[in-house]
Structure formats: structure tokens, C-alpha cells
Point group: C2
Chain length 196, copies 2
DNA sequence: AATGAAAGCGGACCATGGTCCGTTTAGGCG
DNA sequence: CGCCTAAACGGACCATGGTCCGCTTTCATT
């Protein structure tokens, strides 16, 4: 026996075939997104490419958004890793101010290049997007704290991150605002908020 | 004859039946959104409620997003009117700083109450959302100018408005952050940016 | 190894946004 | 008033996300 009582909240073990299928689906999705671009990847395509029924795809990933979130996660996790333990100035070891700027710049570029995928993974309601956004807010809040900023740091962090949102960036690009200008504008915002 | 040469770019006149149908569709959409809530309004429903074919709905409003934008516009236009020429402090006549705060608060409340409709009208790519966002940016930019703020005012305005975005607000409400707290946080942001 | 119940599977099915095209109609002109 | 063309119409049709449910598979227990 393993446990008679459902121990704590171990997230419900996954059967072997289920795990195998999850991997196959994710791999197929990854490949398809890379080759065709996220907007041309249909759930049916992923299913058949993974050699699996459509129902299975939805059972494992809930929704298209969820699947895309899983795909996005593949790169996002690495990025979070480099923020937490990568080389400075993005990672630890640099002054907080430099880290904050590096963080914003990195996020800015990432949001621009992965824009389509991020949008596909972030419609209306998603558990994953929640986690990702939360990570960014927590990190910025932490840096603001180190910089001696006082106030409602969570809200301040949110406010600093909001203009880096994919939709905002797309609008700005449609208005022919260059990335460099956006970046400079963001630096200025940070300067004002931090009160350097 | 009217004009032999297509004069300037008059937006292509609309045939009488076309105009009649547009009105009927918009009226039906307005009514349905008000009674059932935006998420339960289907294009087919609107069409049949307006006594018109589905194709007609799409020809007049391009897309669901477009139709919802038209619905939203009905209230948004009034709001813009009260910003441009309504009573202070939202309208002209109050100090710029008060106007800016009033503007933010008003936008905040509006985004919260009309959240669902705004989201329905603002997916990915829409001409209307473009105009609405632009109005807000222009107005804030103008107020910042009056306040003597220097710098890239368009970007600063965008940055100030970004945290009032519907999606951001929804996330914050999901995190049990009260409206009053959000409002206070936004006031703080403005103070820092304006450099009061 | 046999067994039984829970978990998983798959593809038919549904809802809905969006397109297409053969038919109808408005309305300028002779 | 009748003609003619561009515009508009409408609903069948398509694509795709998401659900459902009867059948299959896993695997803990014996």
C-alpha cells in the first residue's frame, strides 16, 4: 500500500500512460509552435501530431490557453532561473538599481519576441499567467525594498511592470515607437518611482 | 449627379437599408448586452433579434469585437464628453493635478464596472480600442504638460495609464486588493511621476 | 495471475465566430 | 417609369475550441 488516507495534498499521482501522453503532447506542441508559429497551431493538429485523441489533449491541459502556457513555460522557466541565480546584472550580485533596470529590459525584449505566444497563453483567465505575473511582481517588489523605496510596494511593482505588458507594447509599436525609446521611457519611469 | 470623382475620402456613403440594419443590429446588441450580460450574447442571437441575417451583422461590424466596441462606444462617448467639457474636476476648470487624479479614479471605476464589455471589445486587434486608448493617452499627456512635467510625455502617460488596465485590475481583485487601495496606490504613482 | 474499480482514452458531437456566394434591392439615370 | 449596376442581403457552410460518454487500460490488492 502507499497511503490509505489521502496524504496532505499530493497533487494526485499520474498514471504512466497519462504521463507519457502529456509528454508527447507537449513535445508536439513545442515543435509545432516552433515551426508553424503559435497562431497556426490547432488543438486537433497537436492531438494528431502527438498520436493522441483530442479529448486527451484537453484533459491534460484544460484549454488551448493552458497548453500554450505549458509551451511558454519551457522558456519562461529558464528565464526565471537566470533572474534568480544567473549572472549579474540580471541575476544576484549587482546593485539593486542595475538589477531592476536589467530586469525591465530583459522583460521588455522577451515580451516583444514572445508576444504572440504570451498572448495565446494569457487570455482572460489562466492559472499559469497568474504565477508568472506574480513572480515578476514579487521580484520587483523585492528590488524596490532593497532600494529603500517606501510605500505600497506590491502596487508600485505592478505599476512599474504594467507598461511592459504585451498589449501595451504592441500598441506602441503600431504607433512606430522604437524599442529603444520605450526602453528609455521605462528607465525614466523607474527613476521617478524610485526617486533616484 | 453627386460627384463624378470620388471626393477626398468621404467614408463611402451608406445605403438606406444598410443604415437601417446597422441601427437595428446595434439596438439589439445594446439590449441583449444589458439584459443577458456580454458573455451570453452570441452573434446569431443578435442577428435574429435584429431580424437580419448573420452575414449582415458581420458586414456592418466586421467582427464580434467590433460589435462590442460599438456597444461600448455608446457609454464611452458620454464619458469622453464629460472629460472634455463636463464639470470639474474631471472636466476643465480644476487644477491639472486634480483633473489628473479625477481622470484616473473615473477610469479606474469605469474599467472595473465595464470590465467584461471592455475585454470583449478589446481583443488583440481593434481599431476602436485604438482610438479609445489614444484619447486617454492624449488627455493625460496634456495634463502632464500643464503640470510642467518634462520628458517623453506620451510614454509617461502610457505608463501612468497601464496599471489601470482591465486585466491588471482583475488580477489585483483576484488577489483581494481593494479598490480603495488600488486607487491610493495609483495616486502615489502619479505623485512620484509628476514629482510633486 | 486474476480481478475490479478508478483513471484514462478517443473521437463523435456541439456551439460559435467567421466566410462565401447566389439572389435581392436601392436608387441614379435616361 | 423602367433599366441597370453596385451594394447589400441571408443563410448555408467552414474551422476550431471545448464537451461527453461508452470503451480500454493501469495497477493495487489478493
Amino acid at each position: 500500500m502507499t497511503h490509505l488516507l489521502p496524504m496532505a495534498d499530493e497533487p494526485a499521482p499520474e498514471r504512466a500512460d497519462a504521463a507519457r501522453n502529456r509528454e508527447a503532447i507537449l513535445a508536439a506542441a513545442l515543435r509545432l509552435v516552433a515551426t508553424r508559429g503559435v497562431d497556426c497551431v490547432t488543438m486537433d493538429t497537436v492531438a494528431s501530431e502527438a498520436g493522441v485523441g483530442k479529448g486527451t489533449v484537453f484533459r491534460r491541459f484544460e484549454t488551448r490557453e493552458g497548453l500554450m502556457a505549458a509551451v511558454l513555460n519551457e522558456s519562461e522557466a529558464a528565464w526565471q532561473g537566470s533572474v534568480i541565480s544567473g549572472p549579474p546584472p540580471l541575476g544576484p550580485g549587482a546593485p539593486a538599481h542595475d538589477r531592476l533596470l536589467a530586469f525591465g529590459h530583459s522583460r521588455l525584449r522577451t515580451n516583444v519576441t514572445h508576444g504572440a505566444l504570451i498572448k495565446a497563453a494569457t487570455g482572460s483567465h489562466s492559472a499559469r499567467s497568474r504565477a508568472a505575473a506574480s513572480f515578476a511582481v514579487m521580484h520587483v517588489r523585492h528590488l524596490l525594498g532593497e532600494l529603500g523605496v517606501t510605500g505600497d510596494l506590491v502596487l508600485l511593482a505592478t505599476a512599474i511592470l504594467a507598461p511592459l505588458d504585451v498589449m501595451v507594447l504592441e500598441q506602441q509599436q503600431a504607433d512606430h515607437i522604437s524599442l529603444d525609446r520605450i526602453e528609455a521611457g521605462w528607465d525614466d519611469l523607474v527613476r521617478r518611482v524610485v526617486g533616484a
